[in-house]
């Protein structure tokens, strides 16, 4: 190294002493927080359309543009629910049979599409003989009056990692769409693509039952309103609205609302809730209705409720103190003094949230300051427990623990009759 370079190196070592001001980090964070989220698709629209057109030209050259399938799709057996398997067996749905080549040589095949008023289901295959390294993510299906967002999906990969078969659900598409465009992204969203294919709305499966309900059920802290039921071959959907103050205090959601056909519950397959004006809009999903239904009813079996307790428990100071309050088990795992205050570790049934908890010592009551942790733990007997660590701003070990009330999964048992007489399909 020359003398000059040596001097430059020394100077660098000296300059390296300069450190960024402490405020820099905060300023960068603020600058970034104020930045609006970036637009998803950076390329101009015409470019995407041009790309899709070119892709389409190749694709249509290789394939018959469109065919209905009266045959069943192969290879999806392990992914399909019983209902979907039956529909596939019957040849419901339509074939797409389109192929897209992705930048790294991976091929995406759109095999078939199953549509009805409740949802859209896409059957697809991804192949690459060199192995599949990146994920394909489906975003939305567009078309006339259609913007169907992806909902749930499931897939399985073969043993050598060269082929994935998958099922992807979307919202329902409009019966006026004659052509659908699927937007998807590949390789951590670095590749945004779309593919357009013809669609025949007449091939959509017929809705089997659709009726409005307009019934309300009163629960402890509000009301549940059921608006409509739509039963199609792929799913049964109940829509409604929840206006209940403590709806989200426990994790139960709408899981405890059952749909009974001839007295037997239909499998609950999912639910969603999104906030709306005065409450939450809810959708509850069940499996397909049986072929013949004599009676159909909604049963609010379990839903969040509130119980006033006003209980005071004497703390024994032992570990694992067990109490029963209102038939529910309460485990007091630990009461300890820390530098921050008094920490109390409690475990309850998964669907119980205590309300108005305070501790008392020497005649003084200290309300809950904050909850430090909340974990779902499995107990030896297989039951799920919710363990929470509560912090109280006090430095005296408490003699008693007071609880004003609790939110819990309450058995209501309200019934709404939807079909009382014999109904044939």
């Amino acid at each position: 190294m020359s003398e000059i370079e040596n001097q430059l190196k020394k100077e660098k070592e000296r300059l390296d002493e300069v450190k960024a001001p402490d405020e820099l980090n905060e300023r960068l964070r603020k600058a970034l927080e104020q930045t609006p989220p970036r637009r998803k698709n950076k390329a101009p629209k015409w470019l995407a359309v041009a790309a899709a057109l070119i892709a389409l030209t190749f694709v249509s050259y290789n394939y018959n543009a469109f065919a209905y399938y009266g045959k069943k799709l192969l290879g999806y057996d392990e992914l399909m629910t019983e209902t979907l398997a039956q529909l596939n067996e019957q040849g419901s749905g339509q074939a797409i049979e389109k192929k897209v080549m992705l930048s790294d040589g991976t091929e995406l095949y759109l095999d078939g599409l199953l549509t009805d008023e409740n949802q859209t289901i896409l059957y697809y295959t991804v192949k690459n003989s060199k192995g599949l390294l990146e994920d394909t993510r489906f975003d939305v299906i567009r078309g006339v009056w259609t913007k169907a967002f992806a909902t749930y999906g499931t897939f399985s990969m073969n043993e050598d990692g060269t082929e994935v078969k998958g099922i992807q659900g979307f919202d329902a598409v409009s019966p006026f769409a004659k052509e659908l465009t699927l937007e998807f992204s590949y390789n951590e969203s670095s590749e945004q693509r779309e593919i357009t294919f013809p669609y025949n709305p007449k091939q959509a499966m017929q809705t089997e039952l659709k009726q409005s309900i307009h019934k309300k059920v009163h629960v402890d802290q509000g009301t549940i309103r059921f608006d409509s039921i739509t039963a199609t071959p792929s799913r049964t959907t109940i829509k409604g609205k929840v206006n209940v103050d403590n709806f989200d205090r426990i994790d139960l959601g709408v899981m405890g609302i059952q749909l009974l056909a001839d007295g037997k519950p239909i499998d609950w397959t999912g639910g969603s809730s999104k906030s709306a004006l005065f409450g939450q809009d809810i959708e509850i999903y069940y499996d397909r209705l049986p072929k013949e239904v004599n009676t159909l009813e909604i049963d609010v079996d379990k839903f969040v409720g509130y119980q006033k307790l006003n209980e005071t428990i004497a703390l024994t100071g032992e570990t694992e103190q067990t109490e029963k309050i209102f038939g529910k088990e309460l485990l007091i795992r630990k009461v300890e003094k820390t530098t921050e205050g008094i920490q109390v570790t409690l475990a309850t049934d998964q669907n119980v949230l205590l309300d108005g908890v305070s501790i008392q010592s020497k005649g003084n009551s200290t309300p809950l300051h904050t909850t430090l942790r909340s974990d779902i733990l499995e107990r030896e007997n297989g039951e799920l427990n919710n363990e929470r660590v509560l912090l109280f701003k006090s430095d005296e070990l408490p003699e008693t623990l007071s609880i004003e009330g609790m939110h819990y999964a309450k058995s209501y048992g309200n019934h709404i009759q939807l079909i009382g007489k014999k109904e044939k399909r």
């Binding site: 000059i4 430059l8 020394k10 100077e11 300069v18 960024a20 980090n25 960068l28 600058a31 989220p37």
Partner: protein, 181 residues
């Protein structure tokens, strides 16, 4: 590799990952910005510009592992644009004084000889053309690769090599005989 993992996250729009990436080399970024902007205030402004710009353009970064040289290129471009906007020409020697300012606080024990040599070095750098000086400083003081410097200064890599070579040669020729250890 941690960097690659963070870059992938940042590409998906994860702001926290981007912050963490910058954090890892925060001082290096700051020194680079300071050498162009001349004062801490403008240097931090340039870095704010940079992080916003990175957030929007990171999906276009093809090679995750070259995040740092790529982002520093963006920083230098932001610095140049900002100083143009402020309509002031920052000479590298002035900028170095700001680095010196920053140093004075941390550096208490500075022998007379060291100071003298430093003045020599600064005098020598001042003799160079601004292009040569920029290339040498980026390479030796900020540890940047030749390709990154080429990207920052918008010239082919060969030009960068020759600027550094010619610059060093000039320094040796002018002052070669005056070095006394």
């Amino acid at each position: 590799m941690k960097t690659v993992r963070l870059v992938k996250k940042a590409k998906k729009g994860n702001k926290e990952a981007l912050l963490q990436l910058i954090n890892e080399q925060q001082d290096a970024y700051y020194r680079l910005a300071l050498s162009y902007m001349g004062n801490p205030h403008d240097a931090m402004d340039a870095m704010e510009d940079m992080i916003v710009s990175l957030y929007h353009s990171i999906p276009q970064l093809k090679k995750e592992e070259s995040f740092y040289s790529w982002s520093k290129t963006i920083l230098v471009n932001r610095c140049k644009k900002l100083s143009q906007k402020q309509n002031k020409i920052v000479l590298m020697e002035n900028a170095d004084e700001s680095l010196d300012e920053a140093l004075k606080i941390s550096e208490g024990t500075n022998s007379f000889k060291q100071t003298e040599q430093r003045l020599d070095l600064k005098g020598m750098l001042a003799m160079l053309s601004s292009d040569q000086r920029e290339a040498i400083e980026l390479h030796y003081f900020h540890d940047l690769e030749l390709q990154a410097i080429a990207d920052m200064t918008n010239v082919p890599i060969g030009t960068v090599k020759s600027r550094i070579f010619q610059g060093l040669k000039k320094m040796r020729d002018q002052f070669g005989g005056e070095w006394h250890e």
